[in-house]
């Protein structure tokens, strides 16, 4: 870990301004991801701006009947919120499937959205990784590489990493939007489907955020009802990232929404795929995962995603 200086911001706009002003600055919230990455020098900020006391820790209703979740609301509090549990059940389920109780107590909504990939080569600074060092190459694409956990769709020939968040998959089926404040003090709203960037030739650029821009909240539209479920598939029963996860909202009439975790650099959802929900899991997945380019080691994720959705539909 490199030496760094530290300050605590009391206001989002001030934090954003400072982040743009100080070269090499980064926000820190719960620190559960950033500190690990700093210890390994995968992230090397020289200045940290603590945003945990910026007053962004409340959950409130929006004028339009939706929900506004402050960026610093912890994963534990969000999962336990009565409105969330009643109206946005998929979100509670996804959060509870992630990490551990201790981590969820520290992890924040913004931090969770911005957690970085768990690609094993990203974590080993002796290995080439385009995401860590642009242009260095991608060890995960090497012959005989360990790619079982990595992405099968939306990836590129520079990077096949996935976004590891469970929460983001649920937010994606809920049509969430991300509210931000820019360094100039302006507010922006970015729909979640435009928030993440696919790797293309620039896997180091992961989101639509501009330098210094701070996330202030995530908003949810009014509840859409339906049966909401989240099925996370993993090798051990707890405390593991998803091989595949499926967030599902099913309405009475058989229509609904589906998003996948563990398969792509972003929570993976395609409107044309979920239109096929009444026709069953195979119809959905053949559209949702159309064009997938798995490795030999992770091709099973295609079958797994379909079977998981089929089980969820059958359980309904």
């Amino acid at each position: 870990m490199r030496a760094f200086s530290f300050e605590r911001a009391s206001e989002p706009a001030q934090a954003a301004a400072r982040a743009a002003e100080v070269p090499g600055a980064k926000f820190i919230a719960g620190g559960t991801n950033l500190l690990d990455l700093m210890k390994l020098e995968i992230e090397t900020p020289v200045h940290l701006i603590d945003v945990s006391a910026t007053g962004l820790d409340r959950i409130s209703s929006t004028a339009g009947g939706g929900l506004r979740i402050g960026a610093m609301v912890t994963n534990t509090d969000l999962a336990a919120d009565a409105t969330v549990r009643r109206d946005y059940g998929v979100l509670t389920r996804a959060l509870m499937a992630g990490a551990s109780g201790q981590l969820r107590n520290k992890a924040t909504t913004a931090g969770n959205l911005l957690q970085r990939t768990r690609c094993p080569y990203f974590y080993d600074t002796a290995m080439p990784c385009n995401k860590r060092v642009p242009g260095a190459g991608c060890a995960a694409l090497g012959k005989g590489a360990f790619s079982r956990q990595l992405g099968i769709i939306g990836t590129s020939d520079t990077c096949i990493a996935t976004h590891p968040s469970d929460m983001a998959v649920a937010l994606r089926v809920l049509d969430a939007e991300v509210e931000t404040t820019t360094p100039s003090g302006a507010s922006r709203t970015i729909p979640l489907d435009e928030f993440y960037r696919l790797p293309g030739d620039t896997p180091e650029i992961e989101t639509a955020l501009m330098p210094g821009e701070i996330i202030t909240a995530v908003t949810l539209p009014p509840p859409i009802g339906g049966r909401q479920s989240y099925h996370k598939v993993r090798d051990r029963a707890s405390y593991a990232f998803a091989l595949v996860s499926v967030a599902l909202i099913e309405r009475e009439d058989g229509t609904g929404r589906v998003a996948l975790g563990g398969v792509a650099p972003e929570p993976w959802r395609r409107p044309q795929a979920e239109a096929a929900l009444p026709d069953g899991a195979n119809a959905v997945m053949s559209r949702l995962l159309d064009g997938a380019t798995p490795t030999e080691e992770n091709a099973f994720k295609i079958t797994l995603a379909e079977r998981t959705l089929a089980a969820m539909l059958a359980e309904g």
């Binding site: 030496a3 390994l40 974590y123 012959k143 051990r236 029963a237 079958t303 089980a311």
Partner: protein, 726 residues
């Protein structure tokens, strides 16, 4: 004391302390954070500095240069020593790769430098500043390719009868190949040491080691110094599983750093570094052929296995149990060592049998099915009371059949569904499986000193407690032998200033060291008897009794001290075969859609001689069952074939079992005694609990799904294409 013939009736047959369920005597220290583990021994020496290791970024080749100038001038740095500045260190008997010195890189993350600084953070930050250039060699880390080269070659280690003829005339045969992956010990406490070698003369090492004397000898060999200049302390160890049998880079780098800067240095190996820097259990590929007559009697067993190692190492001999476990008149056993450039393969809990039974006990299940027999009955039919490879030699004690019968009974085995894939509850396919457990038993000479003063007894030995309960069972043994309450016995462990013991490993620790403490206490009793002029006095209830007089030990003036060791005679291995046995019964659920396998119920029945303390023994066995669950379902060191290293080198990506994976566990100890093993008639249990667990889970998963997976771990990708329609 010499142990040259089987034990007669003795005081342990009338025991009131040994064999009873006493809570750990060190439990309070542990739960209050007062047990001194190596890295936190802030009080033992003043002025401790922090060391941080640097590992090679390649798997094989040479270091052409190290620029340490930026690190040397970084804040707080007191010294940097690179491998290029040091003559290659000596290599002790059981180490394979060099721990430090010279320009040769033998494996990924082999230690190449140590940075010493005033704070941990400064040392770590400076360590990242080293610029290292390499001349990289091509690596070969493909065990599959190695197996293809070696299979069918070489001289068998066991060859009995005519295997080929037996296969030709057999009613039923099986011929399958099984794969087990490499495993890392993943003990809670990383390798850690504080070393004071400030003056370059006397070296004091506070470390985390299973084997104090081996550690001391290895340090002496590495540095080419007299072992008497070295003192090693390791009173508490946060798990080892064989990973701390050997001297590792933590102590070596701390010693080098300490000598360089003239101050004590502490170092813990960082977890992501540990997995490639230290040792691991090698992967195996195993071909097993079984032949049987129509009644289910095995006529031939042919086991050929390969594992990987650096040149000169031992790999993982998965055939370890095959010469002994089941009867069969014809037998061929061979283990190939494939030299590869992965890190150092070495011992991990029940080395050999763990991987061997993962395969053999699936093969037994498959064979039972082919024969149309119950897998419990099939195993019973092939029991043997003698070494089947040398029938003149009997097992000292063997109650494998009772383990199977008792387990089947308690588990409700007869109620299970016998049609694979035939039982479903909601989304879960339910299955049951059984597997046998075998682990050889071994004793090592073990010494101790017993000192009585004012009615209080102190036992000193370099024996270690790696979380197993040594403090407790040694206290019980001493209390029993001296007729004292446990509260008046203090056991001190893990210090090279004290008599050399067996140490902890190979499940030899408990039996060997309790026998050693018994020997020391008997010597002490003789001394006391002599002083009081008593012939064969009795020691009971805190008193010494003889000549019609009862003298409280607390009233004998002065201090008595006696030292002795238990020397185990040749008869144990010449006239007998000693081993421990068990049977594991498991219920699993396999998710019908995803193929996720979760264990729902586990039962182990163990035959391991006298159980010295049912609480600590049970902890050992359930710990083994947890490890076996990880081994069955999720643990695998993933090899990167191009870069030649284990890519998932942290505990987020190497998935050991977590609480949610472990259901109710039941352990039954058969009430057996083994008078060949030690005067206490006990054997090891620490490794037995792991043996066979994974195969029981694999067999249960087969029973649940009808899908036979012969490659561990049994992850869902190995089944998903064969699962039924959702």
């Amino acid at each position: 004391m010499d142990f040259n013939q089987p034990a007669d009736q003795n005081l342990f047959d009338r025991a009131t302390v040994v064999g009873k369920p006493h809570a750990r005597v060190d439990g309070v220290l542990k739960v209050t954070g007062k047990a001194p583990y190596a890295y936190e021994r802030h009080d033992v020496v003043a002025g401790q500095l922090y060391g941080y290791p640097v590992g090679a970024a390649i798997a094989k080749g040479r270091i052409t240069g190290i620029d340490a100038s930026a690190a040397r001038s970084a804040p707080g740095v007191r010294g940097v020593v690179t491998t290029l500045e040091i003559e290659p260190l000596g290599i002790w008997d059981y180490n394979v790769a060099r721990l430090f010195g010279g320009d040769v890189v033998e494996h990924y993350q082999q230690a190449i430098a140590v940075v010493v600084a005033e704070s941990f953070e400064q040392a770590r930050a400076a360590a990242a500043l080293l610029e290292v250039s390499y001349d990289r060699d091509k690596v070969d880390v493909d065990l599959e390719a190695g197996w293809e080269r070696v299979r069918g070659t070489g001289e068998p280690s066991t060859l009995v009868g005519d295997v080929d003829a037996a296969f030709q005339s057999a009613a039923v045969t099986l011929d399958e190949i099984y794969h087990t992956p490499s495993h890392t010990h993943a003990m809670m406490e990383p390798h850690a040491s504080i070393v004071d070698w400030s003056d370059g003369d006397q070296m004091t090492v506070w470390t985390s080691s299973q084997m104090i004397e081996w550690n001391r000898q290895a340090l002496a060999t590495n540095f080419g110094i007299d072992p008497d200049r070295i003192r090693v302390e390791s009173p508490f160890i946060g798990g080892g599983f064989g990973g701390k049998l050997w001297l590792r880079a933590d102590a070596v780098l701390a010693a080098i750093g300490s000598r360089a800067v003239g101050a004590p240095v502490k170092m813990a190996l960082p977890r992501p570094f540990m997995i490639n820097n230290t040792t691991h259990r090698s992967a195996t590929i195993q071909r097993i052929r079984l032949a049987a007559d129509a009644d289910g009697k095995l006529t031939a067993i042919d086991h050929e296995a390969a594992s990987h190692t650096l040149p000169g190492g031992r790999g993982e001999n998965a055939t370890a149990q095959t010469p002994f476990f089941y009867a069969a008149a014809n037998r061929r056993v061979i283990h190939h060592l494939v030299e590869m450039h992965l890190p150092e393969a070495s011992d991990m809990r029940a080395p050999g049998e763990t991987s061997g039974l993962m395969a053999l006990e699936i093969a037994m299940d498959e064979m039972a099915e082919k024969l149309g027999m119950d897998p419990v009955e099939f195993r019973i039919r092939n029991d043997t009371q003698v070494n089947p490879s040398d029938p003149a030699i009997p097992f000292s004690e063997r109650h494998y059949v009772e383990c199977l019968r008792e387990g089947a009974n308690r588990f409700g085995w007869s109620d299970r569904n016998t049609t694979p894939g035939g039982r479903r509850e909601g989304m879960w396919l339910i299955g049951h499986g059984v597997a046998g457990a075998y682990r050889g038993h071994l004793n090592l000479k073990s010494g101790a000193r017993a000192t009585l003063s004012n009615g209080r007894l102190v036992i000193e030995t370099d024996m270690t407690d790696i979380g197993t309960g040594s403090y407790t069972i040694l206290t019980q043994t001493a209390a029993e032998t001296m007729g004292l309450p446990m509260g008046r016995v203090e056991v001190r462990l893990g210090n090279s200033a004290w008599p050399v013991s067996s140490g902890s490993g190979g499940q030899f620790g408990a039996s060997s060291s309790t026998a050693g403490v018994y020997a020391a206490c008997v010597a002490l009793r003789e001394k006391i008897g002599e002083r009081l002029g008593l012939q064969n006095p009795e020691f009971r209830d805190g008193n010494v009794i003889g000549n019609g007089e009862v003298t409280p030990l607390s009233e004998i003036a002065g201090e008595f001290s006696a030292e002795d060791s238990m020397n185990f005679g040749e008869f144990q291995s010449k006239d007998y075969l000693m081993a421990t046995f068990g049977a594991h019964f498991v219920e699993v659920g396999v998710h019908v859609a995803t193929g996720e396998t979760r264990v729902r119920r586990m039962l182990a029945v163990c035959d391991a001689g006298r159980i010295l303390n049912p609480i600590t023994a049970r902890s050992q066995v359930i710990g083994g069952m947890v490890m076996g669950t990880g081994g069955a379902l999720s643990e695998e060191l993933a090899v990167d074939l191009e870069h030649g290293f284990f890519a998932n080198h942290d505990l987020a990506s190497y998935e050991v079992a977590v609480h949610a994976d472990i259901p109710h566990q039941e352990v039954i100890f058969l009430d057996t005694l083994d008078n060949v093993a030690t005067p206490l008639k006990s054997k090891g249990v620490g490794e037995l609990g792991l043996c066979g667990v994974a195969a029981a889970i694999a067999n249960a998963a087969y029973n649940a799904t009808g899908i036979r997976v012969r490659q561990y771990p049994l992850t869902l990708d190995r089944m998903i294409d064969q699962l039924p329609e959702v």
